[in-house]
Amino acid sequence: MDTKRDGPLGSVMVVGGGIAGIQAALDLANTGYYVYMVEKSPAIGGVMSQLDKTFPTNDCAMCIISPKLVELGRHLNIKLLTLSEVEGIEGRVGRFTVRVKQRARYVDMEKCIACGLCAEKCPRKVDNEYNQGMSQRKAIYVKYPQAVPLKYSIDEANCIYIEKGKCRACEKLCPAGAVDFSQKDKTHEIEVGAVILSPGFQTCDARPLVELYGQNPNVVTSLEFERLLSATGPTQGHLVRPSDHKEPKKIAWLQCVGSRDSHRQGAHSYCSGVCCMYAIKEAMVAKEHCQDPLDTAVFYMDMRTYGKDFEKYYNRAREEQGVRFIRSRVYNVDAVPGSDDVLIQYASDAGDQSDGHPEIVVHQEQFDMVVLSVGVETSPETIELAKRLGVKLTEHNFAETDPFTPVSTSRPGIYVCGLFQGPKDIPFSVMEASAAACAAEIDLAPARGTQVKSRSVPPEQDLSEQEPRIGVFVCNCGINIASVVDVKAVMAYAATLPNVVYSQEYLFTCSQDTQEKVKQTILEHRLNRVVVAACSPRTHEPLFQETMKDCGLNKYLFEMANIRDQDSWVHQKEPGPATEKAKDLIRMSVARAALLKPLTEKPLEINQRALVVGGGIAGMNAALGLSRQGFEAVIVEKEPQLGGMARNISQTIEGLDVLAYVDKLVQEVKDAGIEVLSGSHLAGLSGYKGNFISTIDTGNGAREITHGVVVVATGAREYKPKEFGYGESDRVMTQLDLDKLIRQHSGKVSKWQRVIMIQCVGSRNKDNPNCSKICCQGAVKHALRLKKINPEMDVIVLFRDMRMYGVLEDYYTQARKEGVLFVRYDEKDQPEVSFNGPGIGVAFNDLVLGRRVSLGADAIVLGAATLAEENEQLATLLKVPRNAEGFFIEAHAKLRPVDFSSEGIYLCGTAHGPKLISETIAQSMAAAARAASFLSNKDMTVGGVVAQVEPGLCAACLVCVRNCPYGVPRIDPEKGVSEINEALCQGCGTCVSECPAKAIRLGHYQDDQIMIKVDALLEGVV
């Protein structure tokens, strides 16, 4: 076979440049595939770039996405096609030809320096869609200040010249001669092996749903509200209400606008999955924005805070921040005559009222502003795109996928991730993106590395003879820094410091074009040390260090002064002292920079094998994801057989056979030649990323396995309830027990007259504040099964909030239609189970009827919590963190959901937190993709920030040997002094600070390099 003609291609097209598309593109490009990123707007970033902060950590969205934007923008193996749309596709998996239409930008990207002069002079103002129309932009514009690429573009629908043939002001004024009206739309024919669709979503149109929206400017959508909170928004982050620009005192959030609504035109029956959390976030962040206390109220049906640590966030908002949560049905949103305020009329359950009248109670309340928590939907353009690509859609217009192949569309070789797959939040979009990358990588594995280019970094300059020449780059961070700190004064001050030969300010120092300018400046001024005064090195240091490398400078000759997080953000109300503090911080950084030394790093081979701990659905999928890409995988499973928790689950809520699926996976694992060590556990681990040595206790002796990465897929377990008489009677059971009963004794079950299910057993309480996420769907799934077995059976579900997120809502609706009774109870008023001879009953307060109800039942089914597996030993061996409830903590809750902060170790499945099988599969594939991206490098660099022994000073006293938490130092028997292996050293510096002879030095953190900052800070004090 001629592989050149018939084999797969080593390139992938990613359609849509939001966070999902970005993640997929980066994973692919970092694993050895060439990526074409097709984005219809002039810049990537998607909706995430428009968000102010992100739940549940309240990280600034722009701050965490920006490094990814820049990494993508400057990636050698990603071709970014903006203003582009896919017109058609031909071919099959492995070889597609995609026709992409790219609209004219009318600006030469090579020439544009993004100075903004063109936009300043452009006479045509139009609504700025990035700010949801709440501000204006010009016809020539950049989407947002940190846009990638940061190049202007002309919006031809609004350009006066294109429309009327006159103007060309921008062209005349452009100092770079970048405006080019001769540009024409282009069509590219691009050959790729696979396609990933990540076109994202749009928010529902609120107009037909809330009449006042569009009439009263103080009624805004949640996305508009995000812009009002954002520093780059229409009010520069000053929260004022649109009608009179006064700070609001009272804001209401109305949930489920356009979601969970089967009746109204323009609304959707599904749950949008994210609105509860973003409303909580917006309410908390809004409170932080206001000088005076702000009253916030969220009007909701069910609070769906089902994700990892979400319930704690909700609790914090309610209990600590005083956000009011009002369970209600809003039936009218009305103007208040003579004011810009808004009147909300709503009905609530009687049970929520102290008077206890057995009827629905109506209320009304007036607010300064109302935020509509609008749902998500697939845009008409995306629906058209799907048609052109031959990708089937669901009734809700999401890409049709199978729960067992959650990122595969109906067309082989075309994958999907993010909101086009279904409603979800950012971490799950990111997981799916990596999963889609994994799927494409599997298809194209033989072609990995065939189409990528490699970067040539100029040789490193020898600085040994040079005096320090320091450049200081001061960032305005838009207004993040500049609105508080006098950046110009700081810049001028920096220029006066010793060894500083250059200082300058930039609007966004991290932006791609500024990085280009920084490069030019480094070369032009022969800088050999760089200080960036901006945000946190945690997020931005690697970016600037890349720029250093591009200039032939060692990346350790770089120093950051955090004048944003540690200065402008915390001293917003004291601009004078904040400016002085910025000067102090820069003086310290400059002083340190002068003492920095280049550190060398060298390559070390990576062992290409993966060890997967846990052989359930997650572990098997991760192992298969790697094996199918050509990486050897070994599964360690503690039970005698593979399958894990899934062996206790008959079917998914969609009706798919889970046991058959598990059997199929087990067979695939066997067929793939993946070694399985069952009845085994990890007993010891040494080595380091890329070169681990594990000791596996096989129950039959120890096995040693060398491997480059570890995937943790140890799963979770069902809580064995102590509540509701569980264990006292076999009529009280958990959902898993019920599953088994239906499987084995359906005849017995079919005779039941009444089943009562109780939710949140062992979840959302003091002992376990988490929501277990999957129990609501478990109850609905089984309620529907019971109704199928015997339609006459009474099935009653006692719940606190029905958390049927996303399209699961359909099953909730179906269950109600089929007569399943859902009755809410309050946490403080738990149902009571009573035993009366062989009979059992449940008494509970019906909050709608406002009275106590007692019912007998044939079975009581408890929605028991999903708890972390006993994993302390594993956590200790791998040195990875767990949260208070024992679930492993990923590197970043939003953007690194399957990584651990220690490189080379990955996480998937319910070991990360409770989740559905489909979500587990996606996360496992994501873990495989992330691991593959590490393994595909073949070697990694070691050295850098590591401890080094000065043999002449070493007294061989053993203090380092005894103090190292990793047991790295040893006394070299030949030389008689301590030796520290640079590949093993983690760089913590503990030994350095203990060494009695001061014979150990930590690269980049030498005593003089640390103390000089103290000296500089305290200069002139004594």
Partner: protein, 106 residues
């Protein structure tokens, strides 16, 4: 600092010697050290410096060890306020006071 395990006794001493009114070390939560136990080493070193300060007649409260996670921004602010308030109570570092006097004299 990569880890509070790198914080040496001399770093804390020098900061005070150079005129800082107070120094605190902010490490990971106990049991959550990214490098396993660096924060526990730092805790001991802080206690040692406190002893040295006592022996030279300085207030040991001028140095402190705090533990918090990267996610606890508000806690960090609280610690900063707490430490500032404590140092304010203690007054300026006596070294600094003398320094100022000398400056005035000069």
């Amino acid at each position: 600092m990569p880890c509070t395990g790198r914080v040496a006794i001399i770093h804390l001493m020098k900061a005070l010697e150079k005129g800082a009114d107070g120094v605190f070390v902010a490490g990971c939560l106990e049991g959550d050290c990214h490098y396993q136990a660096g924060n526990l080493r730092a805790k001991k070193r802080v206690a040692y410096v406190q002893e040295v300060l006592k022996s030279i007649g300085m207030d040991p409260e001028r140095v402190a060890m705090y533990n918090l996670s990267a996610g606890q921004g508000p806690r960090f602010a609280e610690i900063c306020r707490e430490m500032t308030e404590r140092v304010r109570q203690l007054g300026p570092n006596p070294i600094r006071k003398n320094g100022e006097r000398k400056e005035k004299a000069a």
